[in-house]
Amino acid sequence: MKVKPVNHAKAAEEFLDDAPHLTFHDERLWDMRQKRDQQMHLLPEWQELRSRASAIKEHTLANLPEYLEQFEANAKKNGIHVHWAADGAEHNRIVGEILEKHGAKSLIKSKSMVTEECDMRAYLEPRGVTVTETDLGERIQQLDGQMPSHIVVPAVHKLVPDVAKIFAKNYNTDPNDNSPQSLAESQRMAARPVILTADAGMTGGNFLVAETGTFVVCTNEGNADLSATVPNLHIATLGIERIVPRMADMGVFIRLLSRSALGSPITQYTTHFRGPQKGGEMHIVLVDNGRSARLGMEEFWTSLKCIRCGACMNTCPVYRRSGGLSYGAVYSGPIGAIIDPTFNERKYSTLPFASTMNGSCTNVCPVKINIHEQLYKWRRVLAEHHELPFVKREIMHMAGKLMGQPTLYRTAINGTEVALSTLPRFVLYNWLNPWGKHRELPHPVKQTFHSWYKKNRLKDKKESQGGKA
């Protein structure tokens, strides 16, 4: 059976129809973007930091096998068990075996996008392991049976009443609790006993340091440090691309990460794990899952520089107005749109079209990934590899939906960035770009299309002769 491409437009439509959620989502993420800008303006060396971060990452990726070997040797020397997983299935098997060996039935974990990639909970739970997400947002998503909708703030698409309902069902709290403080306290109270009795703890990680065999975990809630230090068994899962050569390189990345992500100078916790704690056992699983293949994609390998800050998502007008879940993938937003197709080209074929090509993602990226150029390149690749009708229909549908609701462009962004506030024209211009021959249009924007068409007719005719469109 052929995999069906994610119907991003249809999913986004449902999100767009829900005004309170949409408005909050849009404004919350834009607020994170603005806080990031404020932090950036405080550092005259910001652009220098970005250049350094990019250069360090590119160097590391070009020397990845050597650095991974160096990391492995140092980590082993410090008493860490190092495992390698070619894909999600192998990752899950490795984790399952470690837990089984220890007779561990209760696993507490902090947020890890890699374990989402591997769909680890779905593997462990039928094998009798209770997995408890301890990050508040991730826990909300777990209880609601949803994927994280954002890589940094997993439940950002939910409002207080949504959380109150979920907690009421699972924690027996007041379904009408409208205080975020008391809901967060409910999570603390519910999590603490589980943490104190867990058999094993699991974390993700933000960085591997080759020089010392250290992995670094950046978090805010304290749940990752609890998960790592309360049980005597700590398993960490990281993608093989998360490595830097020297401990001294961490300065560049820590200074960029939280400022880009949340607009705070640093996360509340920046934790360096170099070996097991006294009496404890530590495992690290290095996960490939498509990364080594991506390294060989000439136009897309630099996406491996990503430090998962989420800044490109916060700034993206399409992401803000469609919600992470509409992408139907572990990674959403601009970064998702350029890496998801490497996991499953057909399934995620529509995602690179979910962009206005305004370039804002590229401008905010702390490691200088040319995200919007890669989006454009993916469109070409996908147009060559896949049937166009489906993709095209969906793009048009999405464009029509967005165009049809001018209030959606209201906004948060007024007057701050011309490119973003002129969304409708950009959406239209760019979504149609690869299809020079396309004639139908959502009617509210006929005018704009005509001016676009006049301007681009010749150029696009030429291009479409080269492609298969």
Binding site: F24, R28, E45, A55, I56, H59, T60, L61, N63, L68, A85, E90, D135, L136, G137, I140, K158, V160, P180, A184, R188, A191, R192, L196, T212, T214, N220, E221, G222, N223, D225, L226, T229, V230, I240, P245, A248, D249, M250, G251, V252, L262, P265, I266, T267, Q268, Y269, T270, T271, H272, F273, R274, G275, Q277, L286, D288, S292, A293, L295, G296
Partner: protein, 195 residues
């Protein structure tokens, strides 16, 4: 072939030309102010507090005033009594009953208001720093380093500690409708006491 060898072989075959991507020298950039005022501003921005002595205060009286309801005050330092010593706490379950933990940090980072703790300060019971409700951190101004670059370049702890955490204020979350809540799952408050 093992997955390890397959992955490494694929990386070797696929990687971009290493010669075209040199490693830049270590960066030490930005503001080099290693002062106390900068540290305090940064700490307070992230919700941390300064435990200020009043006339005639000792650490003990300052803690008593700041945490009047605290029953279990656990000390990880030789020069402060508390109600229990960290050496006498033997498990995370026991540590979870702590109201206030008093520790000494070997260094702080002025840029961020961060303090560092490792197993050396926590008597190898690392969870104690996160299970306690509140933490009081003794810090000396002379142990401040300017920023993240200088911290990673200068401090040997990053090369020696098995567990090394930079804590910057208390645990926090904004996962419910973007509302910032200080005191999420780890410590509810973090206070610095200058010595």
């Amino acid at each position: 072939m093992s997955s390890r060898d397959t992955i490494l072989a694929t990386l070797r075959a696929n990687r971009p030309d290493p010669a075209a991507h040199e490693l830049p020298p270590v960066a030490v950039l930005g503001d080099m102010d290693a002062g106390k005022a900068r540290f305090e501003d940064a700490l307070q921005l992230l919700g941390g507090q300064i435990l200020l002595p009043q006339e005639g205060d000792t650490l003990a009286t300052a803690i008593a005033r700041r945490f009047p309801d605290a029953k279990i005050i656990c000390s990880a330092v030789p020069d402060f009594e508390g109600t229990i010593r960290l050496e006498d706490v033997t498990s995370p379950q026991q540590a979870a009953a702590t109201d206030v933990l008093v520790v000494r940090s070997p260094f702080g980072i002025s840029e961020m208001g961060s303090i560092f703790l490792s197993e050396a300060q926590l008597n190898s019971l690392n969870s104690a720093a996160h299970l306690t409700q509140h933490i009081v951190v003794i810090l000396s101004e002379k142990n401040l380093t300017a920023n993240m670059h200088t911290a990673y370049v200068e401090r040997p702890e990053f090369h020696t500690a098995n567990y090394g955490v930079l804590m910057t204020g208390p645990s926090a979350t904004a996962d419910i409708q973007g509302v910032l809540i200080r005191g999420a799952q780890g410590v509810r408050s973090l206070s610095v006491w200058w010595e």
